[in-house]
């Protein structure tokens, strides 16, 4: 690239190794913390799961930024190249919002159907039914509501 001297860029690479390794370990630590593996009982706090989730997503995005900008040298490319590659990814933000909303809606509808399935069936009043006797049982064949 010629933007950094050879020695400088070599140093940067090993800095990157340490950085990615440490961030990964921190991620694993937070993930286990949120699930109650490090301090038992923490998994019962609902808000903690959201905080940990947010931390994990931010750290992963930071790792992605580091890999793209330093390892893949996006930092040294023309701005137009970076924009034409990275900007389309913004579309994914909407995809994530829309599909997660959709998933939640599937769940709610399934629960609604389950709830309604469990309701006792309405009593059909016998007067409205026309039927016939067959071997001592009433066989209903028509409903004239």
């Amino acid at each position: 690239m010629g933007h950094l001297s050879y020695e400088e860029s070599k140093k940067l690479v090993y800095k990157g190794l340490v950085l990615l390794a440490v961030v990964t370990l921190v991620e694993v630590f937070f993930s286990l913390l949120g699930k109650g593996h490090i301090i038992a009982g923490l998994e019962d706090y609902n808000w903690l799961a959201y905080v940990v989730g947010l931390i994990l997503i931010v750290l992963s995005l930071y790792k992605a930024y580091f890999i793209i900008y330093d390892f893949m040298h996006m930092r040294y490319e023309v701005k137009g190249l970076a924009v034409s590659v990275l900007l389309p990814c913004a579309l994914l933000i909407w995809a994530i919002i829309a599909f997660f909303q959709e998933g939640t809606s599937w769940k709610n509808r399934r629960e609604l159907i389950k709830e309604k399935d469990e309701l006792p069936a309405k009593d059909q009043s016998k007067e409205n039914l026309q039927g016939m006797m067959l071997e001592g049982k009433v066989v209903e064949f028509e409903f004239r509501g």
Binding site: M1, Y6, S9, K10, V13, Y14, G16, L17, L20, A21, T24, L25, E27, V28, F30, S31, L32, K35, H37, E43, G53, L56, I57, S60, K63, A64, I67, I68, F71, M72, E77, V78, G80, L81, S84, V85, P88, C89, L92, A95, I96, F99, F100, E102, G103, T104, W106, K107, R110, E111
Partner: protein, 313 residues
């Protein structure tokens, strides 16, 4: 690829003073190959994003979901109850091979042929190591824990209760809401190393038994007495976890593994070419090494998100 590059280089030399329509221009000051690699990676990013978003949508749509630190808690050499440890090792392998790839690209830019070959070789070893780990992980899930594309034996309790023993009597084993379980298969080791070990002692013919139900495939669904909630007092049996989990897991990690595998193949080819001096002759700072480097870093980048979605969250 090799011929295209040479043609473009020649055109570039001939058309130094031509108009924009004569070709040979380099948009964004990047060569054709590098620019197209970036756009390929963009499209690939969308493919992976589509899969991971589908995973998210299905996970949100399901009342329960297998807990990753329960599902992924085994490692080779008989290690159990070590949540996420093995997969962290896998992540480190990819990170390290990414770093060695950066070194290979740097040596390429200084036209150091031997340096390129050395660092690419280490990168390839990292990639093969990752694939080996993934093969072990899959084997463990399929052969030991009996998860397949449409059977997911990893379930989660939604009601509190106590387990019943083989004769249908209550045991001391208390169930809390949110507890995970693995439905074991009769007559097979399950690799979990804890409760319910002595399968052979009971009758596991398919059908209903006092303390458990054995389905046609031989999965033993243990029964439990519900102690809280509207169904308190009822005896229920463990149900299978959300079916989509197995298919999503095998498909998405498999697709990523396929990328790693093809990356290893291309790295190998380019390493041989670099060793033969092919890229020295081109005098373009081993651009081919830089291009495969972009691809290899992308594989690492995707793993960052697969790791986040499947294992951490």
């Amino acid at each position: 690829m090799a011929t295209t590059d040479t043609v473009i280089e020649k055109q570039g030399m001939q058309n130094q003073s031509g108009s924009a329509w004569d070709g040979g221009n380099e948009p964004f000051k990047a060569s054709y190959g590098k620019l197209m690699m970036w756009y390929f990676l963009l499209s690939d990013a969308f493919t992976f994003a589509g899969f991971l978003i589908a995973y998210g949508a299905l996970r949100f749509s399901s009342p329960t979901w297998p807990v990753p630190d329960f599902v992924f808690s085994t490692a080779p050499f008989g290690i159990h109850d070590a949540p996420l440890i093995f997969v962290t090792v896998m992540s480190f392998l990819l990170i390290i091979s990414s770093v060695t790839m950066v070194r290979a690209v740097q040596e390429g830019q200084r036209e150091n042929k031997n340096g390129v070959v050395f660092w690419m070789l280490l990168t390839i070893l990292g990639g093969i190591g990752f694939l080996g780990c993934q093969a072990w992980e899959w084997t463990n899930l399929i052969a030991t824990e009996h998860m397949t594309v449409d059977v997911n034996p990893f379930g989660t309790h939604t009601e509190a209760g106590v387990y019943l023993d083989a004769d249908g009597k209550e045991t001391e084993e208390v169930i809390e809401v949110g507890d995970s379980y693995l439905i074991h298969k009769a007559g097979a080791g399950h690799g979990e190393g804890d409760h319910g070990g002595d399968h052979a002692a009971h009758d596991y013919s398919a059908g209903d038994h006092a303390g458990y139900f054995v389905n046609e495939e031989g999965f033993i669904q243990r029964k439990f007495l519900v102690t809280e909630g509207p169904d308190a007092g009822m005896v229920k049996m463990e149900s299978f976890g959300p079916k989509a989990f197995g298919a999503l897991f095998f498909f998405i990690t498999g697709f990523h593994g396929f990328h790693v595998f093809s990356g290893v193949v291309f790295l190998f080819i380019i390493m041989i070419n670099a060793g033969s001096g092919l890229y020295m002759a081109r005098k373009n700072g081993h651009e081919m090494v830089e291009k495969i480097g972009l691809y290899w870093h992308f594989v690492d980048l995707v793993w960052v998100f697969v790791f986040l979605v499947f294992y951490l969250l």
